[in-house]
Amino acid sequence: MAAILANLNQFISAIAGFLTPLALFHVSWSTLLGIIIGALPGLTATMGVALVTTLTYKLPPDLAILILICVYNGAIYGGSRSAILLNIPGTPANAATTLDGFPLARAGRAGKAMGIATSGSVLGSLIGMFFLATVAPLLGNYALKFQSFEFFWLAIFGIVISGHLTALEDPMKGWIAGFLGLLVAMVGQEGIHAYERFTYGTTDLLGGFALIPAMVGAFGFAEVMSVMRSPAPEVVQEARDSIIPKLGEVFRYWRTIIRSGLIGTIIGIIPGVGEDIAAWVSYAAARRKSPERDRFGKGSVEGLMAAETGNNACVPGAIIPALTLAIPGSAPAAVLLAAMFIHGVRPGPMVMVESPEFVYQVVAMVFFSTLGMLIYGLTLTKPLLWVLAVPRTRLMPVVFVLCAIGSYAITQRTFDIWVMIGFGIFGYILREMKYPMAPMVLGIIMGDILDKNLRRGLILTDGDLTPFFTRPISLVLWLVTVSSILLSIEPVRRGAQRAAQALRPWRPRAGTETR
């Protein structure tokens, strides 16, 4: 108890330290910039943080890192805007947000959807911040339990779950999309022996297909084509609903919020997997537990809440190992860590010993960025609704211009524009045949992880497969994966339900809350 009070004390003094006009000014512009970067398809949080690092060389370290954290947190949140309004995830972290956000917007409830996304992001960020402040060092050490075997299963688990969730009527198509994504990731120089796979002598393909152009193509360009082909313009409706979410409605989902916040934080702590996967896993968990699970994918407030809470909780989560072990928990956190080094701050295992006040400063920075997010989230929503009223013949060319420049901007290669176009066409065809795009994008992210960790694990064990099945975390991951596949096969599921009923005859049927 005394320890918590001491923590609180340090936290408050860190907050007070940033209550200067200059610091608040930096918070306000950098959070806004982060939201804009996140909302523009193709510009990611990683790129935003790397870009703004260039602008902060001359600033004192505390302000520089404050700015970077605001950009990071803002970008992850900002991506929900384009996900809800345009069905294009602004950053890979918002792919799960499109599933329920866009249907809500189409049903004329865009204001509500954005309000829910705002509250989810803010609450997720606060939950992550709580863990950052209280248990950072303990959680940091836990990150090392994830080794090659666990990463392998995490990749398989991710593809199977996301394939299932995004194609509920026909999970087969979700899995096909996911495995095609994994296959796409095989192109390029592989990470163990540096052999060039499927490149056929082209230097441009050495690095494989980059994620961002592929994602922008599969979601953005494909969306442009599908909107232009559809017989009628998207039904434009006034957002009659209030933008400010009702507190009662938000807290009805307190279980989902806390669960997603926890999942997001933990995924954040695991090195190498970031906000995108955090959103997926919390979305999956929410659906599993939800009484309204049938509404998921068709405009479920709870699903939207889970995805947005999960990805923002991941931000402070990813900062935890960066601070306490100098191991970044996600790609943007890697850039943040580098920026800390450049500014002469020394995160790592010694930080709690040498400069514990810095940890609380970072907590305060997360707090300020969350505050900025909340304020902009509530004020910026109304103007954004105009987007829905623009006729498609005028909106779509602008969206496509952004898709093209967004694909190009990250590495500044025209090759990436062609990648965007290729994946747009490929994605459009698959979409028309009801293959979901999200598992494919996740596959592109996970392909590399799967490939290297499987083979690395096999090198380490000299070909012995047992550790893949017996290590505790691996065991849980593969059991969940296999049961998820089995339960999606109709006869097996019915059998399982019958068995469950036979065992617990006094309980109501599966599908309702039984706790």
């Binding site: 510009l43 870009l51 260039t54 009527e169 026909d170 087969m172 899995w175 096909i176 495995f179 095609l180 994994l182 296959l183 095989m186 592989e190 163990i192 022996h193 052999y195 796979r197 499927f198 442009v224 084509m225 232009m228 082909r229 559809s230 017989p231 009628a232 313009p233 039904v235 049938d294 498609r392 013949t393 005028r394 779509m396 060319p397 602008v398 496509f400 211009v401 898709c403 093209a404 420049i405 190009y408 901007a409 500044q412 025209t414 524009i417 062609w418 965007m420 176009i421 066409i425 028309e432 045949m433 009801k434 799967l450 499987l454 083979r455 690395r456 096999l458 090198i459 000299d462 070909g463």
Partner: protein
């Protein structure tokens, strides 16, 4: 406008307790599409497995035999093969192999207004991003693209001269504004060297 008002009829997938196929005409098309995709996927997976088999085993480097580059692609190829076979079998059971492609069907596809809009969109977008960008200044390419897109899709038969001027003006303003804002933001704010 070439657009007709009214809500689209799609977007209502069958409830989740039904098996993958119901009996509507739309589903009949999907069954056929699944049959063709399945065949394409089978070919693709066989190609991948074959290529994986051809990848070097690096024996001279004495690497671990289970760490060869072809291992994971081969594994993925096999998984996709299995999934594709299920897809094909499922679709054949529903009659998907009877494609019934006639000239009449193909002609209908060609003149369907949605498909024509799709074709125009594809030509415009790919022409812009793939060829125009990089060969003329970025701001000019972007302005032209937005202008052309709006004019082509919003023009109708029987428009008066004044309406044409109006449309041209709107398109020109939007094109110029988009081009100016995007060029400024990416060049000056995000410091991107534009193509």
């Amino acid at each position: 406008m070439t657009l007709r008002p009214g809500a689209g009829s799609d977007g209502n997938p069958p409830p989740s307790h039904l098996p993958p196929y119901d009996r509507s005409e739309k589903t009949a098309d999907m069954v056929k599409a699944d049959f063709l995709t399945g065949l394409v996927l089978i070919l693709l997976s066989l190609f991948v497995v074959f290529e994986s088999w051809r990848m070097p085993r690096l024996e001279h480097l004495k690497v671990h035999p289970l760490s060869v580059p072809g291992l994971v692609p081969a594994f993925l190829g096999i998984v996709i093969f299995v999934l594709a076979v299920i897809l094909v079998v499922r679709s054949v059971l529903a009659g998907g192999h009877r494609l019934g492609l006639s000239n009449e069907v193909l002609r209908r596809l060609r003149v369907e207004p949605g498909n024509r809009r799709l074709l125009v969109t594809a030509v415009l977008t790919i022409g812009y991003a793939g060829f125009l960008v990089g060969s003329i200044p970025y701001w000019l390419a972007t302005g032209l693209f937005v202008f052309a897109f709006i004019v082509i899709f919003e023009r109708r038969r029987g428009m008066t001269r004044r309406e044409y001027v109006r449309l041209g003006l709107v398109a020109a303003i939007l094109g110029a504004a988009t081009s100016a804002v995007v060029t400024w933001a990416f060049q000056s704010m995000f410091l991107v060297t534009l193509p």
